[in-house]
C-alpha cells in the first residue's frame, strides 16, 4: 500500500529562483523524496493555480501587488507556510531599493540611466504595480517556519520537508543556518 503523498507548492515572488535551484541541488536525494511528495503549483510543474497543500515554500519578498496576491493564495491554501531564503525573510537584496523612493528608482532605471533609449516608465495593464517598499512575507501573513540562507542549503529543504513527513519539528543544524 502506498503512503499518502504530502502536497507541496512553491513559488518565487521578489526572488531570483536561486532557492528553487538549491532545492534541486539535493541531487539524487530527490528520488526517494519524490515518492513521498507531490508538487502542486510550482515553477517545477508549471501549474498556475494552487490547490489545497500541506506545505507552501515561498521564495522572495513582496515587491509588487501580484506578489501580495500570490502570497495570500499560498497562505489560504497551505497548512504550513515556509519563508524560504533571505528575501522572503528580510526582503534581501531587492529590499536594498528601500533606501530610495520608488519614483527615484524608476527614474534611474528608465529615464536617466546610462544608455537608456526612448526614456519612459513602463505602464501596462499586465505589469503589476510596484510597492513603495520591498517587504518580507512575514510582514504580510503568518509564517510557520523560516529557512534562512541565500540560498538555504539543499539539506535545509530536505530537513523541512522530512520533518513535515515525519510529523516532527524541523531542526536546522549549524551548517544549515546560513544567511549567505
Amino acid at each position: 500500500m502506498t503512503e499518502p503523498r504530502v502536497k507541496v507548492a512553491t513559488c518565487s515572488l521578489a526572488g531570483c529562483f536561486g532557492c528553487h535551484m538549491s532545492f534541486l541541488d539535493m541531487d539524487e536525494a530527490i528520488v526517494p523524496l519524490i515518492q513521498r511528495i507531490e508538487f502542486d503549483r510550482s515553477p517545477l510543474t508549471d501549474i498556475k493555480q494552487i490547490g489545497r497543500c500541506d506545505i507552501g515554500l515561498v521564495e522572495g519578498g513582496l515587491c509588487n501587488t501580484e506578489n501580495r496576491e500570490v502570497l495570500h493564495q499560498f497562505r489560504a491554501h497551505c497548512n504550513i507556510l515556509v519563508a524560504v531564503g533571505a528575501c522572503a525573510i528580510n526582503g534581501g537584496v531587492p529590499a536594498m531599493r528601500n533606501h530610495y523612493p520608488l519614483a527615484e528608482c524608476l527614474a534611474e532605471s528608465y529615464l536617466n540611466g546610462v544608455n537608456v533609449v526612448n526614456p519612459q516608465i513602463p505602464r501596462d495593464a499586465e505589469l503589476p504595480p510596484l510597492l513603495e517598499q520591498v517587504i518580507p512575507i512575514g510582514q504580510e501573513v503568518r509564517v510557520d517556519y523560516f529557512l534562512p540562507g541565500c540560498p538555504p542549503p539543499a539539506a535545509a529543504f530536505m530537513e523541512i520537508v522530512s520533518a513535515v513527513l515525519e510529523q516532527r519539528e524541523p531542526q536546522l543544524e549549524y551548517q544549515q543556518r546560513r544567511f549567505d
Binding site: 533606501h99 543556518r177 544567511f179 549567505d180
Partner: protein
C-alpha cells in the same frame, strides 16, 4: 593566608583578579560569554547587552558587573538565551543587514552569534533606516547600514590611538556613527590605515578597501565552528587572543 577569589558561572568555578568584571574573569578562564561590544583591550560599554547573566534572580550585563567571591552566576538557561536572541533580532531589524551582499559575511560576529543562537528570522519588522555611506578615505569604506553602535571604534580611538575619529551621535532610533572632521567625511579626518579603531569593528561597517572575498565559503572564520568555540574574532586576526577563544563546547 589570602582568601581564594572565585565565583561560579553555570556551576563552573571561575577565579578572578581584583577589578575584574564577570566577563573579564570568564574570558581569562577560557569560558565564552556571548558579546559584541566588549573587547578585552578597552573599557566596557554595555551597549549590546548580549552578555546578560542572572545573579540572584537579577539580570545584569556581565561586562559591567564586578566579580565577587561566592557569586552564583547563571549564563545559559532558556530564558537568557531567548533574551539574547531577541536582542540580536532587534539589532538586525534596526539596521540594514544584507548578509548575502556583505564583504564580511562568514566572518561577522553579529552573524555568528545569530547562527549560534539558532536565529532564523528577525521576529520584528525591519526598519530599513536611511543611513549614509562614506567612500572618501583611500583605505577604508564606511557602510553605516551595518553599524550596531557598539562604539568599539570610538573607544579604540580614544584609549589606544589617542585621536578622535569615530563617535556615536544622536539618541535612540536616530543614533548614528559620526566621523570627527569638518566635513563629516572620513577622508577629511585623521583616520590612518593602521589605527586600531579601524580594525576592531565586529561587523562590516568600517571596511578596509582591500582583501575581501579571498577566503572561500567553508573556510571563513565562522563557517565550520560556532562563535562560542572560535571566540570573537575578525578575519584579519589570525590567532584569537587566548582569553577570547577556546570556549566551552558544551554551551550550545
Amino acid at each position: 593566608m589570602t582568601e581564594k577569589r572565585s565565583f561560579t558561572l553555570d556551576q563552573q568555578e571561575i577565579p578572578f583578579q581584583p577589578g575584574d568584571s564577570i566577563l573579564q574573569a570568564a574570558q581569562r578562564a577560557g569560558v565564552y560569554v556571548p558579546h559584541l561590544c566588549f573587547h578585552p583591550d578597552f573599557s566596557a560599554n554595555g551597549s549590546c547587552r548580549l552578555c546578560v547573566v542572572s545573579i540572584a534572580g537579577k539580570t545584569v550585563a556581565a561586562c559591567h558587573y564586578p566579580a565577587r567571591s561566592g557569586l552564583q552566576v547563571t549564563m545559559n538557561n532558556s530564558r537568557l538565551q531567548q533574551q539574547r536572541l531577541r536582542l540580536l533580532q532587534l539589532l538586525f531589524a534596526e539596521g540594514n543587514h544584507f548578509c548575502p551582499s556583505c564583504e564580511v559575511s562568514g566572518s561577522c560576529q553579529l552573524q555568528a552569534l545569530a547562527y549560534d543562537l539558532g536565529m532564523t528570522h528577525y521576529h520584528y519588522d525591519p526598519f530599513y533606516p536611511q543611513r549614509p555611506r562614506d567612500g572618501s578615505h583611500p583605505d577604508f569604506f564606511i557602510d553605516t547600514d551595518r553599524c550596531i553602535f557598539c562604539d568599539l571604534c570610538g573607544r579604540a580611538g580614544t584609549e589606544q590611538d589617542h585621536k578622535p575619529v569615530y563617535r556615536l551621535g544622536g539618541r535612540g532610533e536616530q543614533t548614528r556613527l559620526l566621523i570627527y572632521s569638518a566635513s563629516g567625511k572620513l577622508g577629511d579626518s585623521r583616520a590612518a590605515a593602521d589605527d586600531k579603531a579601524a580594525h576592531v569593528c565586529p561587523v562590516g561597517c568600517i571596511l578596509p578597501r582591500e582583501g575581501h572575498y579571498r577566503d572561500p565559503i567553508g573556510e571563513r572564520v565562522y563557517d565550520a565552528s560556532p562563535i562560542h568555540w572560535v571566540g570573537n574574532r575578525r578575519r584579519d586576526q589570525h590567532a584569537a587572543p587566548a582569553a577570547d577563544s577556546a570556549g566551552d563546547p558544551s554551551h550550545d
